[in-house]
Amino acid sequence: MGGKMTERRVTIDVPSLARVEGEGALHLKIEQGTLQHLQFKIYEPPRFFEKFLEGRHYSEVPDIVARICGICPVAYQVSAVNALESLFEVELTPWIKQMRRLLYCGEWIQSHSLHIHLLALPDYFHETTVLGLAAKQPDAVKRGFFIQEAGNRLIKFLGGRSVHPIGLQVGGFHKAPSLAEAAELHRYIESALPEAIAMAEWVARLDMPDEQQSFTSVALTSPHYPLETGRLKSDRGLDIGVDDYETYFTESQCPHSTALWSLLKGENYLVGPLARLNLNVNGLPPFLDRLLAKLGNPFPSQNMFHSMLARAVEICFALHEASELLRNYKVPDTPSVPVRVKAGECCGWSEAPRGLLWHRYQVDAEGIIRAAKIVPPTSQNQARIEQDLAQSLQAFGLEHSDEALRLHSEKVIRNYDPCISCATHFLRFSAERSP
C-alpha cells in the first residue's frame, strides 16, 4: 500500500471463522469511506430434519430432534415434548415439571460456560484459543471447566450422558435417579455456585465496548425466570401464547443462504441471554439482585457486548435453581405418566441457551408425525446480526484495516453465539473498497 488512496478494491478471503458454531460468510462493500452493502449469510448444508420426522412415531421425536444440535439437545427435546404433551393433554406431575427444569438448567450451564470460556473470552485477551488463554489465565480457565462440568453432570443425572441424553420421554422421564445420586450432585452444584459468582464478577470487570443500539428483545417471560415455559413477550408490547407464534413471526429465505430468516412483523429482533435478561431482570432471586446492584446493574441493556455478562448471570441463576431443586429431591412413585394419543396440531417452545426455540407438529390418530416445523434461535437472530454488524463496524471505524474489521466482525458475531449444526465454518469475508 503506498501513496494516496486511489482506486482501491480489496477482497479478503478468510477460510474459517473460528469459535463460532456455524458456517458463515460476510461481505462488505465500502465506497468513499461509507458502507454501501453488507451481507451476513449462513451456509448450513441442510440436514432436513423436518422431512424425516414425517412418518415417525411421536415417541421417537425426542431422540431425533436432539440430533439437530449437540450443544443444545435438551432444548430440542423439551420444546418437542412440550408440544406433544399439550396435544395429548398430559397432566405432568410436579416432580416431572421440576426435573424438566433441572435438566434444562444443566444445558444452560454447560452451553453458556462453553461459550464464555472456550469461544468468547480468548478475544478479550488477544488469544485465539482457550489453550492460549489457559497459559495467561490458568485459574479462570480452570474455574470455567469446573462450572461447565456442573452442567454436564446435571444432564447426565437425568439423561445418562450430556450429549443426546436418553432419559426424557413424552410424558416424563424413563427413570428417576436415586437419593444418593441427587445428594452427590447437590454437593457439586453447591461448590460450583460461588465459583460462578466469582466468574460473573470477573466478567463484569472486563473492558467491553460501550455501544448502544436500538433493537427489540424477544423472550419467554415467567415470574421465576423462563427456561422451559412462559409467555412470549417483547420490550415493545408483544405478549402471546405458543399457538400465536406464526401470526406474528414469519420466515423467509435470503438468497444464497440456507438458514431461514425470521422477522417479527417485518422487523428484526433479538433472542438469547441478553434479550431474556432484559425482559426478566425482575424475576431473579435476591442474591442475584444484590450481585447485579454491586456490579452497577446494566440490565436492561441495549449493548450487545453485555451478552457475556448476561450468560454469566444466567449460569449463576441456573446453578442456584438447580441447587434448590436438588435440595428437596424425592424419588417419585413414577417418573412418567401415561400418554393417550390424539390427532391434531400442536406447538411447543422453550428458551434454548441461544434463545427461543419453537416447534410445531401435526400428528395423526396413530401418533405418527405428519408434518413438522422447527424455528431455531439462530435463524431468528440472523437479521439482527446483519443490522448489528452494519452499525458496529461504522462505530468501530471503516478506515481500519481489513484484518481489524474482520476481527471486530467476528467479535460482534460471537455475541450471538450462532448455533452449531451449521456446517463447515467458512467465514468468507470479503470487503470491496473504492476510494
Binding site: 471463522l17 449437540g70 469446573f146 440456507t258
Partner: protein, 259 residues
C-alpha cells in the same frame, strides 16, 4: 525435544456433538495438548484447514459437492484418518434421506428458493469417498473413546476395534432385560458396545445409536419384534434411525421403505 504428533479435527454435516467429546473434557483437553499438537480445530479456535497432520479426525457426513472436494484434500494431508461418530462413519441420522423416494424434492419442500441449496441427494459416510484408517462409532462418541484412540496411536498401535454386542455389556452390568422381561423392542442384540448400556440402565430399550455389532442377526431380531406385536413398518423404523442402511436385510418381505 521430540516433536509431538500433529492432529486436526475436521467437520462436515453434523450436529457438532462428537466434537464435544473433546470440548467437554475439561482440563484433560489442556493436558492433551501437552501430548499432541492440534493444528486445526475450528470450534476451539485453531485454524489451519490445509495443515499436514499425523492424524485427522473427521466428524460429519458428506452432503455437498464442496464436501466431496474437501475430504480428498484432508485425506491427502493426513497420515491416518479416523472418523468420529455416526455421521462420519455411516452417514448418520441425515442418511435417512437415502431411504426417501424423492430426496431431490426435499429442498423445495423447505426452501422457497431451492436453487441456492448445495445439497447432494445422499448423505454419505467418509469411507464412501476416501480410505478410513479407524472408525469411532456412536452418536455421539464419548470422551473415553477418543482418549483411548489417541492414547493407542501415541503408543504406536492402532486402537482396538470392539464390535461386541451391547447385550453382553448390559448382562455384565446386571440390568433387567428390556427385551425379554419388559417386552420392549430393544436393539441391544445387534448394536455395538461402547455407550456402557445406558438405555437399559434407564429401563428403556436401546435404539441403536452405536451402530451395528459383529454378527448381527437382524432378521432374527426383526421377527422377534413382530412377535412382540410390532407392525412391519414399525420394525423397519426401529432398524432405520441413527444408522440408516437401505441394504440391511430384515427379511420382512414387501412393505420396506424402498418399495
Amino acid at each position: 525435544m521430540a516433536t509431538k504428533p500433529t492432529v486436526a479435527i475436521h467437520k462436515f454435516s453434523s450436529c457438532d456433538g462428537c466434537q464435544l467429546a473433546l470440548l467437554n473434557m475439561g482440563e484433560a483437553l489442556v493436558d492433551l495438548t501437552g501430548r499432541v499438537d492440534i493444528k486445526h480445530f475450528a470450534e476451539a479456535g485453531v485454524l489451519d484447514e490445509s495443515a499436514h497432520v499425523d492424524i485427522a479426525f473427521v466428524e460429519g457426513s458428506i452432503v455437498t459437492k464442496l464436501d466431496t472436494q474437501r475430504i480428498q484434500q484432508i485425506r491427502k494431508n493426513a497420515r491416518y484418518l479416523i472418523t468420529m461418530g455416526a455421521c462420519a462413519t455411516s452417514g448418520g441420522i441425515q442418511a435417512l434421506k437415502n431411504l426417501a423416494k424423492h430426496p431431490a424434492s426435499w429442498p423445495a419442500d423447505i426452501y422457497p428458493q431451492p436453487e441456492f441449496i448445495d445439497s447432494l441427494d445422499r448423505s454419505e459416510p467418509i469411507k464412501a469417498h476416501v480410505k478410513v484408517d479407524f472408525e469411532l462409532w456412536g452418536c455421539p462418541i464419548n470422551s473415553r473413546q477418543i482418549s483411548a484412540a489417541i492414547g493407542a496411536m501415541l503408543e504406536g498401535v492402532m486402537p482396538r476395534d470392539d464390535r461386541e454386542k451391547l447385550c453382553i455389556e448390559c448382562k455384565r452390568q446386571g440390568h433387567v432385560c428390556t427385551l425379554i422381561t419388559q417386552g420392549e423392542p430393544c436393539m441391544g442384540p445387534v448394536t455395538r458396545t461402547g455407550c456402557g448400556a445406558l438405555c437399559p440402565e434407564f429401563g428403556r430399550a436401546c435404539y441403536g445409536c452405536y451402530g451395528e455389532s459383529e454378527l448381527p442377526k437382524n432378521a432374527v431380531l426383526a421377527r422377534r419384534f413382530l412377535g412382540l406385536g410390532l407392525l412391519t413398518d414399525q420394525v423397519e423404523r426401529r432398524f432405520q434411525l441413527i444408522h440408516p442402511e437401505p441394504e440391511r436385510t430384515l427379511g420382512l418381505g414387501h412393505g420396506g421403505q424402498d418399495d
